[in-house]
């Protein structure tokens, strides 16, 4: 990786065709960001996009179809669906983001312990990871929820427990490679302390691929989080969370299709955008490190 900055400045001759292919590859992340930015704005400052309240009930105007006054229609209690979808961005994204951060952090710690902590630690950590990975992630999350109970914090923790073993395995593999690399050996030869070695050399280099994968993992965590809310364990109604909104609106699908359409479309659009960005980051990363 340290070689790249030197090479990056050099002019590279490319054919017209490969330049076109590159442009096509770069265009899709731009579209993805165009989708993601409004969603991020909705998460950070929902008031900027809509003035009404997501939980004010207005029974007279219940189940109105999408139109000029209510862009996404209204739900069974007359709440404006557009407002609720906008306000739902923050809790929904927080579920996915919290779970991913926690899973990556846990994965990094356990992966490093496995890679650098000796044979016994490696065996212990990786056998537990094997067991967790042999079960469906949703089932692992549900097992945690059975133990701890529902609620936003517990759902975040549950998804993190389900996802962390996968990250731990990557960190371990990366750390094993990095540990044997020349620069780590050189640093060790210079007499660096073990803790400095891990913090300054092994961890940053093992973390790169992990962060790229975590981008895509965030999409999966988002689906899992809103899925668990849909099942009734995460964010509780009347708080507007996309999965919880779908769950609430389920009984009215027959008469009001819009209740089922928009919150799910928000989840899907976010996940697709994140996946596109994650993949382009991934391919850029793999091109950089041969």
């Amino acid at each position: 990786m340290s070689v790249t900055p030197v090479l990056a400045g050099l002019p590279v001759r490319t054919s017209v065709r490969s330049r076109l292919a590159l442009a096509a590859r770069r265009r899709s992340p731009v579209v993805a960001w165009a989708v993601l930015v409004p969603i991020l704005v909705a998460a950070l400052a929902p008031e900027a996009l809509t003035a009404s309240s997501p939980i004010t009930i207005d029974p007279v105007n219940a189940l109105l179809p999408p139109g000029g006054e209510h862009w996404f229609g209204t739900d069974q209690l007359g709440r404006d669906l557009f407002t609720r979808v906008v306000h739902g961005a923050r809790p929904s994204l927080l579920l996915g983001l919290g779970a991913t951060c926690l899973a990556v952090a846990g994965g990094a710690v356990f992966g490093l312990v496995a890679a650098l902590g000796g044979r016994a630690a490696d065996q212990a950590v990786m056998r537990v990871a094997d067991i967790l990975l042999s079960l469906p992630q949703l089932l692992v999350a549900l097992l945690v929820i059975t133990v701890l109970g529902g609620g936003t914090a517990n759902v975040v923790l549950a998804i993190a427990v389900a996802f962390a073993p996968g990250y731990a395995r990557i960190v371990r593999a990366e750390a094993l490679v990095v540990r044997r690399s020349g620069y780590v050996e050189a640093a060790r030869g210079l007499g660096l302390r073990r803790s400095t070695l891990i913090a300054r050399h092994i961890l940053p280099n093992a973390l790169g691929p992990l962060l790229v994968l975590a981008t895509v993992g965030f999409g999966t965590a988002l689906i899992a989080g809103s899925g668990l809310s849909f099942l009734g364990f995460g964010t509780q109604p009347p708080a507007p969370e996309w999965g919880a909104m779908l769950s609430e609106g389920r009984d009215f699908l027959q008469t009001a299709w819009w209740i089922g359409l928009f919150p799910g479309a928000a989840v899907t659009a976010t996940v697709i955008a994140v996946n596109v960005i994650g993949r382009s980051a991934q391919s850029r990363f793999t091109r950089r490190t041969p």
């Binding site: 949703l138 089932l139 990557i170 099942l231 996940v271």
Partner: protein, 366 residues
């Protein structure tokens, strides 16, 4: 990505434990959103065959013994995980097992206490619990007043039906999509990539709601909710299948493209075979090894997906049973489902191992 031709030179049949880590080692496999191409590590790490071989039978016996041991290890691990989960629940374990809404008499409580030995040291409880699991006693749901294995047995049929239908559908969709689009013009490939991306990004519960709204409520082609006949199976199976089909199609298409670039594909074309025949007869077999690996792993996750899909469509089954048990903190049922899931995992890994030999004749010759 390694081409299948190179990757499967080893004669060692991977044990479930070997299959498991190799499939899930990259986050791709554990996180369905990633490009599966990076996730799939081809099976068979490649034990050099040759002089060391002592005949086919002893190797088969050893492979079987290894697979059995690995399978038992997975089951033991799952049982231990379930036991630890039970220990971690705060509060009186007897109250936990009885559930929140109980009117159990002191007599019943005493019986549970004796059965699980809650007054004894944890290690003894653990040994006793393992002993009961080995003899097939998964305990009782005190909520539903029935043994766990009976509850699971009652619901298993509906979920197996759903899972089998979904798997068949997913593989079919992936096959059609990959065979028709692999190595074609850029426009065709772009369409394939786009639908694969959308499919892997769709939350299954939303897909279910959309299908339900479109085909049951608006067009009224399929029955709405609850019925258990074949027509009622179509939409849930499709819901479960589509995201999986997206992943499979992606991997299969990339595998096919790699195989079509191999010299044998050109040779076959030179022999006068049509483009389609080369795809179906030659390239597909190479790409199918990865398909088998990935399908095996994805079938394991169907049990998780069933929780959501059965909820959306109001079907009964293991998923609905699990959801109810989690909501009621009905720990014996949840523990039973965890064990069932581990058992399915072992079963599928073994089946995939056997499938390798069917797909790749070089693994049979040994």
């Amino acid at each position: 990505m390694k081409t299948p031709a190179k990757a499967v030179t080893g004669k060692a049949v991977p044990t479930p434990a070997e299959v498991a880590p190799s499939e899930t080692s990259a986050a791709g496999a554990t996180l369905p959103g990633t490009t599966p191409a990076e996730a799939v590590i081809a099976p068979g790490k490649g034990e050099k065959a040759g002089k060391a071989s002592k005949g086919r039978r002893s190797r088969a016996v050893r492979a079987f013994a290894r697979r059995l041991a690995a399978g038992i290890a997975v089951l033991y691990g799952a049982a231990t995980l379930a036991f630890i989960a039970l220990q971690l629940i705060p509060g009186d374990p007897v109250a936990t097992l009885l559930g929140p809404a109980t009117t159990a008499s002191e007599e019943v409580r005493e019986r549970i206490r004796a059965e699980f030995g809650f007054d004894r040291p944890v290690l003894l409880q653990y040994v006793g619990y393992l002993g009961r699991v080995v003899t097939g006693d998964l305990g009782s749901s005190y909520q539903l007043q029935r043994p766990v294995w009976q509850l699971i047995g009652d619901q298993l049929g509906a979920t197996v039906q759903l899972a089998v239908a979904a798997t068949v559908l997913a593989v079919l969709i992936a096959l059609v999509s990959a065979v028709t689009t692999a190595g074609r013009r850029r426009g065709v490939r772009a369409v394939a990539t786009a639908w694969e991306l959308v499919a892997v990004s769709l939350p299954s519960y939303w897909l279910g709601i959309l299908l339900l709204t479109a085909f049951s409520f608006q067009l009224q082609i399929f029955p709405v909710v609850g019925a258990q006949d074949l027509a009622a199976l179509v939409l849930p199976a499709l819901t479960l299948a589509l995201p999986i089909a997206g992943v499979l199609a992606q991997v299969l298409r990339e595998g096919l493209e790699a195989a079509l670039a191999q010299p044998f594909a050109i040779t076959a074309r030179a022999r006068g075979l049509s483009q389609t025949a080369v795809r179906l007869r030659h390239a597909l077999r190479h790409a199918a090894v990865q398909l088998a690996t990935l399908t095996g792993w994805l079938v394991g996750t169907l049990l998780g997906g069933a929780v959501l899909v059965e909820t959306v469509f109001g079907r009964s089954g293991i998923g609905a049973l699990t959801l109810q048990a989690v909501g009621n903190k009905d720990m014996p049922v949840v523990m039973g489902v965890v064990l069932l899931s581990a058992f399915v995992f072992v079963l599928i890994s073994t089946a995939v191992d056997l499938l390798y030999a069917v797909i790749d004749p070089r693994l049979r010759a040994g």
